[in-house]
Structure formats: structure tokens, C-alpha cells
């Protein structure tokens, strides 16, 4: 361990910096330290789920083992199965074969005034899952607000399936009692790699969700039929378009269709379908020229919602989307985000109008600041509510600092490689000088990266540098 340097973040979570792993792009390790493992216990009637917590922030500041909630779930079966689905996404890698074990990162829980949200992000950085336990799902509101990691160990998950059919379910997130760690021998500690791209994707997926809108809605039975009819694998992205009471699958996009790249990534919806009242599909605006796009698949479970957000391609994570690079590059937006961040108070729905008035922001400034905070892991986006919610990802690392394309663009500016021309710029990159053309339908560049992605993955470093220079 000589090459590693342990640091304890403000939230109590241990970030251990290290050399890059062989074969993995990892900049750090995340050490989960739970006071005791999560357990499922039988009760006289029903069961009790005690979720151990670790790290994060509460409404009164950083906490080592925060306590958020203890109460009965009004509809335990779908909630328990959805928690398992959330945990399964956290333990999955949808691009590699099943022989490759995913790094076992735990789900994150956000507690706000009236609801609990469980979030997880797959190891491949391409699937984000969120379970929203809405006010109706909890017999009492949460005791405190904040965000933390929760332990979903093997034994607990194995027992949770049985608990779901055993009557009432008492859920505790954290414990009111002081958990004695280290000496009692109950501490569970696990280290997992914490690659930048995973962290970045976890944040960025929220900002990408903000650009989506409803595409279609299926009833429970139609949702079951649709999900079960999906092929297990598809080499290229498929598109789902509303057709009567169903969704029709296609290989070419059209307006009002949602991209479904890697249908196997919806596998975790399977066990939840029997509880499903509605399946809603969301996606960004697309047309016949779109090659791929992200999408979100939301199950309405009554008092809960379970949403899977998929990256545009099965082998491509959210971290490379670059959708926010121009926002992140703007120093004014960074300053606005700082002000906005300070005004947030674990809102389950951020009241944009009120904050615009309080902070004196225009709607555009507010939108940019929210996108900035989303990419920084400080707010999430709820598609059903069409609103952001406050949460702070408990990883103790500034997400906005992890955009290599932005760093490269700044480097190009610093090295004087950008020359603005009429309607564009010439950007010298190595031995080649690329031509950037500004246009009303989007800027374009002559570099291979742009030729390959055509702006679908955000601006290339040359376009970004040209825009920075223009400012």
C-alpha cells in the first residue's frame, strides 16, 4: 500500500487514491465502511429490513452513518422487489460477458421531506436505476434528509425476496442507535474501484434526463407483453414507437420514438412487471437522421416508481456524452451554480420559480445552473414530476473536474492553437489543423471524432475550444 494515500473525505467516506488499475480506468478506490451489515429479520408479523448506511451528507452536515427513516412500507412486495432490482443494476455490467464480475458498488439513498429515492449505476456506466418510494409508500415521512450509501449484501438480498411475501415490511435506513464500529467486530469494509467515468456518468445522466420528454405509455398488461417480446440481444439500437395501445419496435428512428440500445439492459424490469400499472417511456427529440439516443423506462408501481435510464449504445456509458461541456465551460454558470447550490434544502421537487425570484436568475440561467449541478452530482431529475430534486452524491469528489475534453480544449486555447476565422475557427491539433464551422444547426469540425459522432456526443475539443475562444 506504499503507493496509496488514504484520505477521509468530509462525509466520512474513505477515498483511497491509487495508481491506475491494470485494464481499468480507475483513479481511486471507494471504501465502504458500514457499522454493521444490512439485515432482514423476521418479526411476529412480517419482516424488518435494516439498511446499514455509510457516508454522505444530511441536512445537518456530513455524517458517517446517517439515520433517515424507520417505518412500514404500505405496499411491501413491489417496494422490496424494486429495491432488489436497484441493487442488481448496481452489481451489473451490461457490456461485458457474465464471466466478468462487476465492481460491487452500493446503491445510494436520498431522503427528502416526503420520500425516499434509491439510486444505482451499473459498472459499465450505461444504466442508471432509481426507485422512488413516494409519500404514499411510507407510513411516516423520513426522519431526516440527506444522501448516503446503503449496504445490499448477499445475505440481505437473499432474504429480501422472501420478506417481500411475508406480510408487513418495516424498513429502516440507518439506525437511531449509535453503532459502535471497529471494536465490536461488526464493521464491514469493502473497497471498490471508483473510476472517473463512473462518477461522471452518475452525475451526467441526470442532466441528460432533463432533455427527455414522454414518448409513450403502456398499461400493465401491454407493458408485460412489450418487455417480454424484446429480443435478448440486438447488434444495433432499436427504436420503440407508440402504435395504438402498444409500442412497436423498429430499427430506424422516427419522430416520437425512443431508442432502445441493448434491450437486455431492461432485464431488471422483468420481476416488477407483475406490479406494474403503467410503463412510461421517455426520450429526447429525435428524427430520421438520429443514430442513437438515451432513453428512460419508468414503471408506475402505484405508490412507487422504478426508472431505468439507458445510455445511447450498449457499449457506451453516460460519461462520454459531453452534453454539458459547453455549460461546464462557462464560468458564469459555475458561479450561478454555486449560488443555487447554497439555496437548496433537500427539496424533493426544486421550486424553480421561487428560486429564480430569490436568486434573481432568468429561466435560462436557472436551467444552466441546474444542469451544472446535475453534472456535479448535486441534483437529480425526476421525469415523472418534470422537476429536479436535491441530493449530493456521497463520493466526496468534485465531479465537474472530470471532463478531459474540456481540459483539452482549455489546453488548446492556452497553447494558442485556436485562430478565429469568419464563421468559424482553425484549430491546430498536433500536426493537423482542423476547421471548425459555426452554424445555426450546430457547429461542426473536420476531425475524425466529429465525423464519427456528428455532434451526438457533445462538441469535440476543437469545437469546444473555438467556442471558448469566441467568448
Amino acid at each position: 500500500m506504499a503507493s496509496r494515500e488514504a484520505q477521509r473525505s468530509v462525509s466520512g467516506l474513505v477515498i483511497v487514491t491509487s495508481r491506475p488499475y491494470r485494464g481499468l480506468v480507475a483513479d481511486a478506490e471507494l471504501a465502504y465502511r458500514y457499522g454493521s451489515p444490512s439485515v432482514v429479520r423476521g418479526r411476529d408479523v412480517g419482516s424488518e429490513v435494516l439498511l446499514a448506511t455509510c457516508g454522505g451528507v444530511t441536512d445537518v452536515g456530513p455524517a458517517v452513518h446517517p439515520y433517515f427513516f424507520s417505518g412500514f412500507l404500505t405496499d411491501p412486495a413491489p417496494a422490496a422487489v424494486a429495491m432488489l432490482a436497484c441493487a442488481a443494476v448496481a452489481r451489473s455490467h451490461y457490456h461485458l460477458t457474465s464471466d466478468v464480475l462487476a465492481a460491487l458498488r452500493d446503491p445510494v439513498v436520498t431522503s427528502s421531506q416526503d420520500r425516499m429515492r434509491f439510486e444505482s449505476f451499473s459498472s459499465c456506466c450505461g444504466v442508471h436505476a432509481r426507485l422512488d418510494l413516494l409519500p404514499g409508500a411510507l407510513d411516516d415521512p423520513p426522519a431526516a434528509a440527506g444522501t448516503t450509501n446503503v449496504d445490499f449484501n448477499d445475505a440481505m438480498r437473499a432474504a429480501l425476496g422472501g420478506a417481500a411475501i411475508s406480510g408487513p415490511l418495516l424498513l429502516s435506513v440507518g439506525s437511531q442507535e449509535l453503532v459502535v464500529d471497529t471494536l465490536g467486530g461488526t464493521v464491514t469494509e469493502r473497497k471498490v474501484p471508483l473510476p472517473d467515468r463512473w462518477l461522471k456518468g452518475f452525475g451526467e445522466v441526470q442532466a441528460i434526463a432533463r432533455r427527455m420528454r414522454p414518448i409513450g405509455e403502456l398499461t400493465g398488461a401491454a407493458a408485460q407483453r412489450f418487455v417480454r417480446s424484446l429480443p435478448r440481444s440486438a447488434r444495433r439500437p432499436l427504436w420503440a414507437s407508440p402504435a395504438g395501445n402498444a409500442l412497436a419496435l423498429m430499427t430506424t428512428p422516427r419522430r416520437e420514438s425512443a431508442c432502445l440500445a441493448g434491450p437486455h439492459r431492461l432485464v431488471e424490469l422483468g420481476p416488477l412487471l407483475r406490479f406494474t400499472r403503467k410503463l412510461r417511456v421517455y426520450g429526447p427529440d429525435v428524427d430520421a437522421s438520429t443514430t442513437e439516443a438515451p432513453s428512460a423506462w419508468e414503471l408506475d408501481l402505484g405508490s412507487a416508481r422504478f426508472t431505468l435510464t439507458l445510455s445511447p449504445e450498449r457499449y457506451r456509458g453516460f460519461s462520454g456524452e459531453g452534453a454539458l461541456l459547453e455549460t461546464l465551460a462557462d464560468e458564469d454558470v459555475a458561479a450561478d451554480a454555486l449560488s443555487l447550490g447554497a439555496a437548496l434544502d433537500w427539496d424533493s421537487r426544486i421550486d424553480v420559480t421561487r428560486l429564480e425570484t430569490e436568486l434573481g436568475f432568468t429561466p435560462d440561467r436557472m436551467a444552466s445552473a441546474l444542469s451544472y449541478l446535475a453534472a456535479s452530482g448535486r441534483v437529480g431529475y425526476d421525469l415523472a414530476d418534470e422537476s429536479f430534486f436535491h441530493r449530493e452524491l456521497p463520493f466526496g469528489k468534485a465531479l465537474e473536474s472530470m471532463h478531459p475534453r474540456l481540459a483539452s480544449a482549455r489546453k488548446l486555447i492556452e497553447s494558442g492553437a485556436v485562430t478565429l476565422t469568419d464563421g468559424g475557427a482553425m484549430v491546430r491539433s498536433g500536426a493537423t489543423e482542423h476547421r471548425v464551422t459555426f452554424g445555426p444547426d450546430g457547429d461542426r469540425c473536420t476531425c475524425p471524432w466529429w465525423g464519427k459522432h456528428r455532434g451526438n456526443r457533445g462538441p469535440c475539443k476543437h469545437v469546444l475550444a473555438a467556442n471558448l475562444a469566441k467568448r
Binding site: M1, D154, R157, A158, A159, G161, I165, A248, T446
Partner: protein, 998 residues
């Protein structure tokens, strides 16, 4: 220095491993570093002889354009002789180096040598290399582990655990004993890598113990931890299963027997063992790799009391993703039920996942379990029958039927249970509506919307506005009677006009930068090609400046995939870019040493050495070759074949303009493939003016040109042909049978269009398969080449479809084909689908790749909506496909199901197609019942046309075969006229009107 390298070297040379270990026993890190320096030469050895020296440039023989060797010159023969002498001298030197290396290798393979390497290793990587060599050598087997453990334990470097983890991950069996030895003496903690657990059963088996039980008792520490890991580590179950499978060869005991005995003897906690087995089914294990745990449970013979205390776990297994896990849960529940110790309400609450489990046997077993529950506990009947209704949502219609039958057997309950069942009835297949209705569980049929009559009135107004000869009055009457009109009589059309040709160099560069990466858009490729020729008149300096950012990438693409070979069009575009920037094009001969050509002299090019297309697949590359030469000349010009519409067609007026322009420029028709494709794309209606202008330019007569044009626009006739490609016995070993189309009757000869001969070489596509497919070029995903085939001859859509059948046929059995691109290229509504087009559609619906099947479903829906889909032709294609035994009806049914979700008309056409295929029904090919099941469901929603006698007869046969049951359901469906039929009728008429209006 207490560690003398000379003593170590001496011990290595006499292969005295024990002495090496003793020498290193007390060495400090400093000693080891010093010793490493002293042994550096010995440990590194003389190095591997560099055989690359032998790879001197060989004098190349020349080939003519037919790839026949040209007789060598005297100078070449002298070069060859000198070359051979030089090779002999090199060989002598290398032999000497090889002898020295072999001797060193022999020594390096000894345990003594490797122990020394381990002893001086400066870090984990060096130690890993030494250990890796040891795991391969074993020339002193037996004493290896102890000495290696001793050398490592003496050092106890801080990277020791990391080293062992790395080696275990490589899955080498011998590493487990080493790891275990180090754990046993406390040199490392128990490794956390999975292989420490998964290798254990096999490693212990190899340890010489008669049974696993004896092996475990010989190392009792394993019972505390390692044994329990077998239940928590993924794939440990597979390792145990493999060991048990192999066990009887070496031992008299399986692992499950051993663990059961150890439990009985008190070495292992029985309760923990049972729990561990049950929990294994709910872990993140591959669901298909957990059957050993069921075997273990069977070996433990779990009692009813033990099961009762774990009722939640057993019932929880009903939600397992593993079939074995669910089966264990069902077996446990069944025993508890027999013993009267099962909580009925909890079983019913837990039943949903098993009732919806994809495999029939699991869902059926759960229905039986509930049946048994009702018999034993009649009080639970209402709740149980309500739970059974969950199976209405099962994918399989036979499971839905079984659920209905169970409800019928025990009687429909009342009150809230009935409400619960009714809420599930919409999940049932429409084909079961009658059975459900018989139980009082009717499904509300959708009633025609009020707007329907308005819609028909609007359609009538449109029909009246059309000329009388459009013949739509009959179709309108049919719709008024509630019948669904047939498809339109269809001819290919020109398509929509493309944007004006590209004349802006920036626009060209923009397009080239995209196409170099992905040339899948065939029309953009054509536009870029023409624009590059047109804009090649710009000054070279201007072109070079504009294209400079693309040159590096263009070069990389050309080096990655050889340009002008007929397959990777992006590489053709890269070379066009290269030429446009003013760079030199290579000479035609592929052995010109310019570095462009990587293959040199292979006979399987689609384009010959002079740039002449050898197969139809090479026609585009040959045109690109011609364009490249024009660009290189820097004189600008035009391509006659530049498409004018999105189907690739050219109007006679535009072609005449181009020909006249060439004439004014004093240019002849010097590009034969451009000329051919221009003729193939020419829309009907050309006048003599075009033929005259053309003849003048081409040095021929107007009659000859017109005759050529008439020949290449003569409709061809095709018939399906299936079988193995019969070129040669060798190819038959590698090629799967294919379903293609061959021309029947005489094919017109077009003397002035050599490309036509390449396109129509379809008289015996099986015999010519190797030549046609250009074997080796289209086995991988060359989507972009195939994407352009349908716009090559837009007025001969059946000919294009016949060629597309090759990749589609390959897509029946292989995933790495451009089958999806092939079927997508038929999407344009102007591309008429004849028998071959429909055959291509059906073959795609049976493709092995889901993408291909979904793309085919999309085409089915689009072709239904625009009137191109003809159920009679689709039926003929379906029959031919099934007859060939290459088209799988289960896949076709799945694809048609996707198609049916698009629109009422697409669904109705599925029903009509199957009903129009009496031969198919009479032949009862495998999986016909899947197709009939789909038709039955769709028939209830969208109506059924006149039924063939064979289907009626099949439906009236007695017996419980799925085929008879589903046929009977279709017969029942034919008696109704559901709302969906009217919807389909309106959509069909709309398609006909749109066609007539356009």
C-alpha cells in the same frame, strides 16, 4: 554480502533447488538486490533469435490482369538467386543463436533457476513472471510447492498477496496448492479472488486423497472458511458439479456426498449448510449454473420440519431467476403442503413469478401446485383461483389456456376474487376470448369509433376526386361492406427528388469527413463521389488546403481496409479524399509497392487489377476507381450516374443534359461503369434525342443504345432455389445451405452494358455462389456495400432483391452478416416487392439476428401501409421458405408479431398471408403451430378472410395437439367481424388512394 551470486549460479547449474532455497533463506533485501545484479546475465539468457531478419524483401513475380503469372526476366532470376544465397547465410547465424538459446531454456526451466528468480525478484511483476514459468515446468514435481512456499515465506514481501491473487486469477490449478500453503502458514490472508474457491475442488481431487471428505479432513482449516465460500462464490457450483461428474473416475464419493457426511459427523453445521444451499439460488449467480446446490439439498434430505422453519426461503425461491431454484422452491412447497404445514396465503402471494416464468414446465408445475392446494384446502379456493388468473399474462397461450381450465375446473368464484380474475382477462390472448366468455369472463370488444363513418366518407371524397380508371370504387365498396381491400398493383417509382448536387467545397469536405467514418448512406456516398469529380476542377492548392484535415484519417482508413475492393466503401471514400487533395493515386496493379494495397494478388477481389468490376459487388468500387482517375486529372467533369432521386433514379431529361454537356466539353463516355449505371438508373420515357446524343458520344448507333436500354429494363422472372452452394466439395464444408432466387427463361443480352451481365449472373446462383458472394468479403459486417445495391438498378427491384437474398440467406445462420442492412435497403415505398422481394422479406423474418427480424417486421408494416405487401406473394414466399427447411417458422412468427404491433393493417396482412398458404398448412412444417397461434390471436382482433379447406379440416380434427387447437381457434375467429377489421380496411383503402394520388 552474505548472498554470493556465484554460489547461487553454481546451485542453479547443478539444478540443486534445495541449495538455492537455503542460500536465500536469510538474505536481506539488499542482499537480494546485489545478487540480482550478479545473476543478471544468467537470468536474462541469450535472448530469442530474431527470425525477422529472414523476412527480407522477396523479388516479386508479376501478374497480368487475370492474375496469371508473367514469365520472369533474366534480371529477376539473378535477383532471386542472390536472395537465396543471402537467406542461407542468415540461416547459419540463426541456427547458432538458436542452439545457445535452447540450452539456456533448458536450464531456465529448472526449479532451481526459478527459485532463484523468485528469490531476487524486485517486485510483483518479476515474481509473477518467475512463478508463471514454474507453473509450466514441473520438471522436479513433488518438491515444487514446499520449496516455492519456503522461498516466498522467507521473504514475505508486501506484494505477496497481490502476487498470489494474480496467479490464481489465471486459473492454473497448481496455484491453488501454493496459495493454500501460504495461507496455512500465515504468510498471507485467505485470498478474496473467486479462483481461490473455484479451483479448490479440482485441486483437492488432484491431491491424492481417496475422497473429498478425506481431503478436507486432512486440512481441517478448510472446513472453517473455504467450504462455506463454495456457497457464496459465483461458479463454485459449476466447479463442484464438474468435480462430481469427474469424481467417480478417481474417488468413490461426490462433493455433495462428502459435505453431507461431514455434516452428519458434526464437522459442518447442517442448518447452515441447508441455508447456504437455499441462499445460493438467490445470489447473483448465473441462473444456469446452480444445479449443484439442488443436488446438495437432495443429498441432505431436508426434513419437513427443516423445511417448515424455512418456509419463507422456499417460497422466496419461487421468484428465483433460476429454473432449478424455482423447482426447489416448488418441491419444498409441495412437501409442506402434503404435510399440512404450508401457509396457503403465503404460497399464493409468492406464486406470481412462477406462474409467469418463461419456461412452460415451471408455470405448469405452479398451476398444479395451486390445484393441489385447492383440493387440500377448499377454503382457499376463491383466493387461489384469483391467483391463477395471473397466468393469463404468460407469453404462452397454452399456459393461459391451462389457467382458464383450472378456473373452470374449480368454478369461477364471486366477489373480490371474481373482480381480480376479471381485471386479468384483458391479458388473455384474443384467441381465448370464447373460452373466457364461456366462463362468464367476457372481454369487452372495442366498438367501431363514431369517427369511422366520417373517415370512410372522407376517403370516398378522395376516391371520387381520382380518375375513374383508378379502379378504387370496388375497394371502397369492399370497405363499406367491412371487408379489407387487397394490395395495390405495384410498379417501381422514381422516388423523391434529392437536394441539388453539391457544389460547395466546404460541403463536400463536411460530407467526406462523415463518410470516411461511416459510408452506410448510399445516396450520400453517390453525391460525394459526383461532387468530388465536379469540384476537382478547383486549383489543386485550394483542394489540398480544404482537405488537409482529413488526410491523416483517410490514410489510416485506407491502411485499415483496402480501398476499391468492393466491400468497405468508407475506404473507397478515403481514397477519393486522398485523390481530391491532390495526392497521387496508386497504379492499378496491386503489387506496385506504393503501400496502398495490402492483399496483393488475391483472386477474390470484386474489382480486378485494372479497375474492372469482376462481380456485381465490385461495380461501385469500379465507378469510384473511374472517379478517382478523373479527380487525379484535375479537370473536373461529371458523373452520368449521379442519382437525381432518393431511389437513385435519373430522369431522361437530366441524363440528356449531362450527355450534351459532355459532348460540349469534348469528352467521350470514357468511364464504362459510370455509363452502365447511368443506363440502369434511367427512368422510362427517354426519347430518340437521348439515344442519338448518347450514340454520338459513345461511338455507336442510337438503335444499339436503345436496344441496350430495352434489354436492361425487360422484367426478369425468378423462382426460389434452395440448397447448399455447390461450387465445390471444399466450400460445402464451410457454407451453410442458402435460399436464393434464380432467373427463369432467357435473360436479355445488353451488349452495351457489361454491368448488366454481372448483375444477371443468376441463372444458377447456387453453382455460382462462391463467385457471386466473393467469398471472404461478405462474411463480416459490410453493411455499407450492401446498402447501395438497391439503388444500382432501381427499375429492376426484383433483380436487386435477388442479390440481397445472399446476405439475407447468410443471416439465417450467421450473425456477422449485412442482413439487416440488406432488408433495410428495401424500405423505400417506391421499391416494388415481387415474389423475390417478398422472399427476401420472409428470409429476413427468419434471420438469426433480432435486428434483422425487427427490420423485416418494420418493412412488413411499411409495405402494408403503402400497399406494396401482397399476402398472396408473401404466402408463396413463406411456403417456399418453409419448403426449403431453411426458414424457421417460430422466428417468422415472432417477427410477424412485431409487425402486427405496428398497425391493424399489418396485423390483418399476417392473417391473410397464412390463410393464403394452403400448401404450408398441408405440409405442417415444424413450428407451424406458433404461426397459427399468432394468427388465431390476431384473427380475433382483426378478422379472418376466407379460410383454406386444409385449415378448416385441421381445426375440426380431434385431439389435443397445439396445431389442431390453434386451427380450431382460427376457425372460430373467422365467424366474427371485429372492430380491428374495419380499422384495417380503412388503412388498406387509404394505402390504395395514396398510391393512386401519387
Amino acid at each position: 554480502m552474505s548472498l554470493d551470486p556465484t554460489l547461487v549460479e553454481a546451485a542453479i547449474r547443478r539444478k540443486d533447488a534445495r541449495a538455492v532455497r537455503d542460500l536465500f533463506a536469510d538474505a536481506t533485501d539488499a542482499d537480494r538486490r546485489a545478487c540480482a545484479k550478479g545473476l543478471k546475465d544468467l537470468l536474462h539468457g541469450p535472448g530469442i533469435p530474431d527470425y525477422r531478419q529472414m523476412m527480407m524483401s522477396v523479388p516479386r513475380l508479376a501478374y497480368d490482369e487475370h492474375l496469371r503469372p508473367v514469365p520472369p526476366s533474366a534480371e529477376l532470376l539473378r535477383e532471386v538467386a542472390e536472395h537465396n544465397r543471402e537467406v542461407a547465410r542468415h540461416q547459419d547465424r540463426l541456427n547458432e543463436q538458436q542452439r545457445a538459446y535452447q540450452e539456456w531454456r533448458k536450464m531456465a526451466a529448472s526449479l532451481a533457476f526459478r527459485l532463484a528468480a523468485l528469490g531476487v525478484a524486485g517486485g510483483v511483476s518479476a515474481a509473477a513472471r518467475a512463478l508463471e514459468e514454474l507453473s509450466h515446468s514441473f520438471d522436479e514435481a513433488g518438491q515444487d510447492d514446499d520449496l516455492i512456499i519456503a522461498v516466498l515465506a522467507d521473504r514475505r514481501p508486501d506484494w505477496l498477496a497481490d502476487l498470489i491473487d494474480r496467479h490464481l486469477k489465471q486459473g492454473v490449478l497448481a496455484e491453488w496448492s501454493l496459495a493454500r500453503g501460504l495461507v496455512r502458514i500465515g504468510a498471507i490472508a485467505r485470498p478474496s479472488v473467486a479462483e481461490y474457491t473455484t479451483l479448490m475442488p479440482h485441486a483437492l481431487e488432484r491431491g491424492g486423497f481417496p475422497t473429498p471428505e478425506r481431503a478436507l479432513l486432512a486440512d481441517p482449516g478448510l472446513l472453517d472458511d473455504e467450504v462455506w465460500r463454495l456457497f457464496t462464490v459465483p461458479d463454485a457450483g459449476v466447479a463442484l458439479e464438474t468435480a462430481d461428474y469427474r469424481g467417480p473416475e478417481n474417488t468413490d464419493q461426490t462433493w455433495s456426498q462428502a459435505l453431507a457426511r461431514l455434516s452428519a459427523e458434526g464437522y459442518l453445521d447442517r442448518a447452515r449448510l441447508i441455508d447456504a444451499c437455499l441462499d445460493a439460488f438467490t445470489r447473483d449467480f448465473n441462473p444456469n449454473r446452480v444445479s449443484w446446490y439442488a443436488t446438495m439439498l437432495a443429498e441432505l434430505d431436508v426434513s419437513v420440519d427443516e423445511m417448515a422453519s424455512r418456509q419463507s426461503k422456499y417460497l422466496g425461491l419461487l421468484a428465483s431467476t433460476s429454473k432449478t431454484g424455482v423447482t426447489v422452491g416448488q418441491a419444498g412447497a409441495s412437501r409442506l403442503l402434503d404435510a399440512g404445514r404450508l401457509d396457503a396465503a403465503r404460497l399464493l402471494a409468492a406464486s406470481a413469478p412462477a406462474l409467469l416464468f418463461p419456461q412452460k414446465s415451471i408455470a405448469t408445475a405452479q398451476l398444479k401446485l395451486i390445484d393441489k392446494l385447492i383440493v387440500r384446502e377448499p377454503a382457499a379456493k376463491a383466493q387461489a383461483t384469483a391467483a391463477v388468473a395471473l397466468a393469463f399474462g404468460h407469453d404462452r397461450q397454452d399456459i393461459q389456456e391451462a389457467a382458464l381450465a383450472l378456473i373452470a375446473k374449480h368454478g369461477v368464484p364471486s366477489g373480490s376474487a371474481l373482480d381480480e380474475i376479471r381485471s386479468r382477462v384483458p391479458d388473455l390472448s384474443p384467441a381465448l376470448a370464447m373460452q373466457a366468455a364461456a366462463l362468464g369472463l367476457s372481454v369487452d370488444q372495442a366498438k367501431p369509433a363514431d369517427g369511422d363513418s366520417d373517415e370512410v366518407a372522407e376517403l370516398e371524397r378522395r376516391v371520387i376526386a381520382l380518375p375513374a380508371k383508378s379502379g378504387l370504387a370496388a375497394a371502397l365498396s369492399a370497405v363499406r361492406r367491412g371487408e379489407v381491400p387487397g394490395p395495390a398493383e405495384f410498379k417501381p417509382d422514381a422516388g423523391a427528388e434529392l437536394p441539388p448536387p453539391i457544389t460547395d467545397p466546404d460541403e463536400l469536405i463536411h460530407l467526406l469527413s462523415i463518410l470516411i467514418e461511416d459510408a452506410g448512406d448510399a445516396l450520400s456516398v453517390e453525391r460525394a463521389l459526383s461532387a468530388a469529380v465536379r469540384l476537382s476542377a478547383l486549383p489543386q492548392r485550394q483542394r489540398r488546403l480544404a482537405a488537409a484535415p482529413l488526410l491523416k484519417r483517410a490514410q489510416a482508413v485506407m491502411h485499415g481496409d483496402e480501398p476499391f475492393a468492393g466491400d468497405v466503401i468508407a475506404s473507397d471514400i478515403a481514397l477519393i479524399t486522398w485523390a481530391w487533395a491532390g495526392e497521387r493515386l496508386p497504379s492499378a496493379a496491386r503489387d506496385d509497392g506504393a503501400g496502398f494495397w495490402s492483399g496483393g494478388g488475391h483472386s477474390d477481389y470484386a474489382v480486378g487489377g485494372t479497375g474492372r468490376a469482376l462481380t456485381m459487388a465490385g461495380i461501385f468500387s469500379a465507378r469510384a476507381w473511374e472517379a478517382g482517375r478523373m479527380i487525379e486529372s484535375g479537370r473536373g467533369g461529371l458523373l452520368l450516374a449521379e442519382p437525381e432521386t432518393d431511389r437513385g433514379t435519373i430522369s431522361p431529361e437530366r441524363l440528356l443534359e449531362r450527355v450534351e454537356l459532355l459532348a460540349r466539353q469534348g469528352e467521350g463516355l470514357r468511364n464504362p461503369f459510370d455509363r452502365d449505371v447511368a443506363l440502369l438508373r434511367l427512368a422510362p420515357g427517354a426519347t430518340d434525342a437521348l439515344w442519338w446524343a448518347w450514340a454520338t458520344l459513345d461511338g455507336t448507333t442510337a438503335e444499339a443504345v436503345r436496344d441496350t436500354y430495352l434489354a436492361i429494363t425487360t422484367p426478369l422472372r425468378f423462382e426460389p432455389v434452395a440448397g447448399p452452394p455447390v461450387e465445390s466439395e471444399i466450400w460445402r464444408l464451410y457454407l451453410d445451405p442458402v435460399l436464393l432466387a434464380r432467373t427463369i427463361g432467357p435473360v436479355p443480352v445488353a451488349a452495351g452494358c457489361p454491368s448488366w451481365q454481372l448483375l444477371t449472373r443468376l441463372g444458377d446462383p447456387l453453382a455460382d455462389y462462391v463467385a457471386l458472394t466473393d467469398i471472404g468479403r461478405y462474411w463480416s459486417n459490410h453493411d455499407e456495400a450492401v446498402a447501395g445495391w438497391s439503388i444500382m438498378c432501381p427499375w429492376q427491384p426484383e433483380l436487386a432483391a435477388a442479390h440481397l437474398l445472399r446476405p439475407l440467406s447468410e443471416g439465417l445462420t450467421s450473425r456477422a452478416t449485412p442482413a439487416t442492412a440488406a432488408i433495410r435497403s428495401l424500405h423505400h415505398r417506391g421499391h416494388a416487392l415481387g415474389l423475390v422481394g417478398h422472399l427476401a422479406l420472409i428470409v429476413a423474418m427468419s434471420g438469426i439476428d433480432a435486428d434483422t427480424r425487427i427490420a423485416a417486421a418494420e418493412l412488413w408494416a411499411e409495405a402494408s401501409a403503402d400497399g406494396r405487401l401482397d399476402p398472396a406473394l408473401a404466402a408463396a414466399a413463406l411456403s417456399a421458405g418453409a419448403d426449403s427447411k431453411l426458414v424457421k417458422l417460430n422466428r417468422v412468427a415472432e417477427s410477424m408479431d412485431h409487425a402486427a404491433s405496428h398497425s391493424a393493417l399489418a396485423a390483418r396482412r399476417v392473417v391473410e398471408t397464412v390463410c393464403a398458404a394452403p400448401d404450408l398448412i398441408a405440409a405442417t412444417p415444424p413450428n407451424l403451430h406458433r404461426l397459427l397461434e399468432l394468427v388465431a390471436g390476431l384473427g380475433f382482433s382483426f378478422g379472418v378472410p376466407a379460410l383454406p379447406a386444409g385449415l378448416r379440416e385441421l381445426g375440426t380434427r380431434r385431439g389435443g395437439a397445439r396445431l389442431n387447437i390453434t386451427a380450431a381457434q382460427i376457425v372460430n375467429a373467422a365467424e366474427g367481424r371485429p372492430a380491428g377489421q374495419r380499422q384495417a380496411a380503412v388503412q388498406a383503402l387509404t394505402a390504395l388512394i395514396r398510391r393512386a394520388e401519387s
